[in-house]
């Protein structure tokens, strides 16, 4: 009966399933994006090849907006087991985009080298090197001019995965943005990663107020739990999504109950208890919620494809570990939405219902 009822009104059923699907996709896309972006940041941090990184005092989270004197790099280089230390200068253009100034030779030595796919590395002060993702997103090619806090000349496109999506010569960037002899981060490579703890401790004694982390400790910050606004935002989106599911199912079931007034009267005449009638509506709701969840999961693959096309710098992950939770969320919102219509149906007077046309 449950499937027959749902088949009887295919458009309403489809709309309900799609609405629940949107609810599920909304949650899974947000979680997938949060995780994808953070994992991408972590992966690019590992791509530097560094074992330790040093940030200015009062740095928090994983932002690089503060600066420190570049001469500290020499203090770091003097430490035992340090084979390489290089400073980078990060200039934020807006909330999400920045340019990283690097000493190209030092950075190449530490990271294994930027792999140029097209064009060349920077030679002039206005040269910008971008990674393949940034190039695709902004439709840039070597030779293009690009306004990004300054009019840059795209010198080349490199393989993604190493620290940043946009690179400039550090001296040019410092000069351009009045930050001579200042760096945002110092990346440190050791002779043996096993010495990380000892070197970190020694550096911390030398630079007590500075933020010194092993690269693994640093990338562990790239989780949704470590970023308060992401967690709060996710909760808000889940709340909105549940509200959508609740309202859609409530409206759908409410109209179903109104439309089926006579049928409810028939069931009552046959001896159906209020629980039996509520049970039918609840089973229909569960079918809608589960179908909507499956559709929502499938739609998540669609949103990932769309993100790849329109915003490749924000990678979206598929998050199967959320499937169970999101099913529970969709079920809970839908069942609560079906409660009022269900109770209304259960309380329907059989004689009035049978007389309903």
């Amino acid at each position: 009966m449950v499937f027959e009822n749902l088949k009887h009104r295919p458009v309403r059923t489809l709309l309900s399933v799609v609405a629940i699907g949107v609810e599920v996709t909304l949650i899974l896309t947000l979680v997938g994006l949060s995780r994808g972006v953070l994992d991408d940041l972590a992966s690019r941090s590992r791509g530097t090849g560094a074992d330790i990184l040093i940030r200015p005092p009062d740095s928090s989270g994983f932002t690089f907006s503060l600066t420190m004197p570049e001469k500290i790099v020499n203090v770091v280089r003097a430490q035992p087991h340090v084979t390489l230390a290089t400073g980078t200068f990060v200039k934020y253009i807006d909330s999400f985009n920045s340019i990283t100034g690097i000493h190209l030779d030092e950075f190449n030595a530490m990271s294994g080298g930027l792999k140029v796919q097209k064009g060349r590395v920077f030679e002039n002060p206005d040269d910008l090197v971008i990674d393949e993702i940034f190039a695709r997103q902004k439709h840039l090619a070597p030779g293009s001019s690009f306004e990004f806090g300054h009019t840059w000349h795209v010198a080349g496109i490199v393989e993604q995965g190493k620290l940043s999506r946009t690179f400039a010569d550090i001296a040019a960037l410092q000069k351009l943005f009045s930050a001579r002899d200042l760096v945002s981060t110092i990346y440190v490579k050791l002779d043996d990663p096993g010495n990380t703890a000892a070197v970190k401790e020694a550096l911390q004694k030398e630079l007590p107020t500075y933020k010194i982390d092993s690269i693994e400790d640093f990338v562990s910050l790239f989780s949704t739990n470590s970023v308060p606004y992401i967690e709060a935002f996710t909760k808000v989106v889940i709340g909105v999504a549940v509200l959508i599911g609740f309202l859609v199912v409530c409206l759908s079931m409410y109209t179903a109950v109104l439309e089926r007034t006579r049928e409810i009267g028939i069931l009552k005449a046959l001896g159906a208890s209020p629980g039996y009638i509520v049970g039918i509506l609840m089973r229909e709701t569960v079918v809608l919620a589960v179908s909507g969840t499956v559709l929502g999961i499938l739609m998540t693959y669609g949103t990932r494809s769309l993100m790849r096309i329109f915003n490749p710098s924000m990678p979206q992950e598929i998050v199967p570990d959320w499937y169970l939770l999101v099913t529970g969320i969709a079920l809970a919102g839908s069942i609560v939405g079906a409660l009022y219509p269900g109770l209304r149906a259960a309380r329907q007077d059989a004689i009035e219902a049978l007389a309903y046309d």
Binding site: M1, K268, A272, I351
Partner: protein, 222 residues
Amino acid sequence: MTEIEVQDLTKTYRVGDVEVNALRGVNLKIERGEFVAIVGPSGSGKSTLFHILGGLTPPTSGTVLIDGRDLVKMSEADRTLLRKTTVGFVFQKYNLLPTLTGAGNIEIARHIAGKNGRTRDPQFEETLKLLGIASRLHHKPRALSGGEQQRIAIARALVNHPALLLADEPTGNLDTENSTAVLSILQGLNKSLGQTILMITHDPEAAAYADRTVTMRDGRIV
């Protein structure tokens, strides 16, 4: 043996501030296996009596014994149980569930009664033969004629072997040929299976199929 015993039955409705006395002291006895027709003009209280005997609405006062149980003392849950186990309904408008096939309509009545909808029941299969609807069971109501729908409604009403079959104007929406067929079926069920039937009708020709006719007027049996 008495199937239904009604004594001093009253039913008062409140419509706004006005009290409507739909039944004003009805007394009625129906023996087991009897086929009784209730006739009377509109507003005479036939439908109210039908609803009370079917457990669809509680009486105001009096005694109503069906199969030995007093409806006056029944709770809503008890009346639900009565509809499930003791009474079967046939309505003028057939009242089949439109989303289910004929077989589905019959199965759901069994399911509500807590029985497996598809279990074989030799006695009920006999009833189905009598109704002559075996070939139409897998069609939905919209694909069935009025006569076929009403025969499926009768099958649904009988699938749980109720002590009492209540029929409210069962031929009211049918042409003469189908009316005759349905009334003959009801008569046949009464004669061959001993099914107790109480039928409400306006039609004296339909009432003639019953063993006995009871006339109602102004909330009383006259």
